[in-house]
Symmetry: C2
Subunit: 354 residues, 2 copies
């Protein structure tokens, strides 16, 4: 059985939201879990959940929360004690070396030893990456692991890679991101011949900064190895005309967070406008289900976490602000990635082309 290890101490809402999300995933998807962290904190939370249930609130308080009852004792949840926690402000490289008993290091370690099959982490992205790189190692031929985020579009899901693992990338790195993203789209999202585009500031070849221009050439020269369809601008991300969009991690991270910002502004505007008057309130009552449906399509929580591709193992990196709902979905992402054998696909691909 595929078991998912979760850093119970990572994230702004840890351990509460993390443990709730883990329990929720164990219940809803029947996925075995390993919670790694201070066991007394984990046990306190499990006890509370057993009595009070999970308060499921998605949408940043936009929609009224609901309570879900759980029989925690009936679930397959392992607990592993970690005496240390890596905080958000710490320098990741140093922290990983110094805090060998931190929750993230031990969570990765449980994949190394085979106790679990994947890690879900909502704490410091740098620490999760570092621990994964250090503990699991890179897949053969991969220069730099990258974060692949799945985004909704008007037509279907889209893989954005790199979402923030690497800055100051080289054209070679972007090319590898394209290959990894394509493999991910194929094996996990079941897209047959993923269309790969380069995120750029214009559609024509020759547009963009030095990196984009050189990466374009590299992709174009290797069209026999992957389905490169050219440049895509930011406004095209949501049209669903490509399956994988490749960029430097700085650009990718800014893009992702901008999307999040726009989405939040939009829904807060909706909320405000509809609450302004009584008649609007009444309309709001009818409109809310429609908005909820819309929100669920674009809410980052639905995708839960992003995959760190290029390491010998599955690490799902979650938003620092992850709610229980986001963690539940991240566990599913990790589970699906293990079941789909995404790493085997990448490894065999890079083995072939090396």
């Amino acid at each position: 059985m595929t078991r998912i290890a979760i850093d119970a101490m990572g994230g702004d809402n840890a351990p509460k939201a993390i443990v709730e999300g883990a329990v929720w995933a164990a219940m809803e998807y029947n996925i075995p879990i390993e919670l790694v962290g201070k066991t007394y904190d984990i046990e306190r939370e499990l006890d509370r959940i057993d009595q009070e249930g999970i308060v499921a609130s998605a949408g940043g308080g936009l929609f009224p929360p609901k309570r879900i009852k759980v029989n925690v004792k009936s679930l397959d949840i392992k607990k592993t004690h970690a005496s240390e926690v890596i905080e958000m402000g710490e320098a990741p490289g140093q922290a990983i070396r110094k805090k060998r008993n931190s929750s993230i290091v031990l969570a990765v370690n449980s994949v190394v030893t085979g106790s679990s099959d994947a890690v879900v982490a909502a704490g410091s992205t740098g620490a999760a990456m570092g621990a994964s790189l250090f503990g699991l190692g890179r897949l053969h031929g991969i220069e730099r692991p990258a974060i692949a985020t799945v985004l909704p579009t008007m037509k279907g899901p889209l893989v954005l890679i790199d979402s923030g693992a690497n800055t100051d990338c080289t054209p070679d790195m972007l090319y590898q991101f394209g290959l990894m993203g394509s493999t991910y789209a194929k094996s996990v999202l079941n897209i047959e011949n993923p269309r790969i585009a380069l995120l750029n500031i214009g559609e024509e070849a020759g547009k963009g900064d030095e990196l984009a221009k050189d990466a374009y050439k590299l992709f174009d020269e290797n069209k026999d190895k992957l389905n490169f369809i050219g440049n895509a601008e930011g406004k095209e991300i949501f049209l669903g005309n490509c399956d994988v969009i490749v960029c430097d991690g700085f650009v990718g991270n800014v893009t992702l967070k901008t999307i999040e910002g726009v989405a939040r502004m939009f829904f807060y505007m909706v909320k405000n406008e509809f609450s302004r008057s009584l008649s609007s309130k009444l309309i709001g009552f009818f409109v809310r289900p429609i908005l909820k449906k819309m929100y669920s399509k674009i809410n980052y929580e639905e995708f839960g976490g992003a995959l760190l591709l290029g390491v010998k193992g599955i690490t799902v990196i979650c938003h620092g602000r992850s709610t229980a709902y986001a963690i539940k979905n991240a566990v599913k992402v990790a589970y699906n990635a293990v079941e789909a054998g995404v790493n085997k696909s990448i490894a065999s691909y890079f083995g072939e082309i090396e």
Copy 2:
């Protein structure tokens, strides 16, 4: 009287939308206009508008268009013939040198000769920039002109600089963008002590790529000269916690176009969800005015165009897809910039600190 020169031939919807927008601005704001382009095209459009009026459709067809009657002959509209047009695909530098009688070059020229006071251009951004740089020259002390776009936030307007004029920027360039953006926010948006933030992938100092790290230091060292408040992530753009956000033009352009893409997706989603069933259609009937109000707050057309800062003159660069409505608003942006004397402020600022 401040007169605005408009490249009547630039943009996807030229000359129709451009001439309509110009006429609309002349009528609504009583702003004298100079239309530069093929005069027979311009005259044909003016004639048509005089008979049929302006079809005002904002929101990309999301809302039903309305027709506005105009007495074109009563308006102060000059026509200047330009026998050439620079197309979107042309290499800007070359095109400007070769096509001395192109609409954009002659529009800029009318500012140089004092016939008009500012240029509005919706054609090739590169050509508009090149023509402005070449024709107007740089303000003393400015390394590279940059595009400043005004964005709506939950609290008020925000200046994003650079929105796409320069890629592969240096820290010094970003620092100058900050100074120019701050002056713009002060003189045009009337923000007293504009808060300047650096667009980055984390809030802490030391985050980001090499450029962001070095630019941070530079801003931080010069805190006595400007109100630098640190890094801001993409999700913070809309919170209204800063007044000027500084970034490389590649990042800025991707960010802007991403915002546009998200906004469009939302409104199409809204439209689809509400049109799906009859009851939804009825709700849509009541909800539409609220959505329209919301859309107007985030619609790029409302701001019309972005200012090219750092040249000796006012150039407003518009979206290639500009509608008449966007052009009308861009003319207002140009007019306000002239009236506020934004260049005098920048010039005196850079004169002071040099």
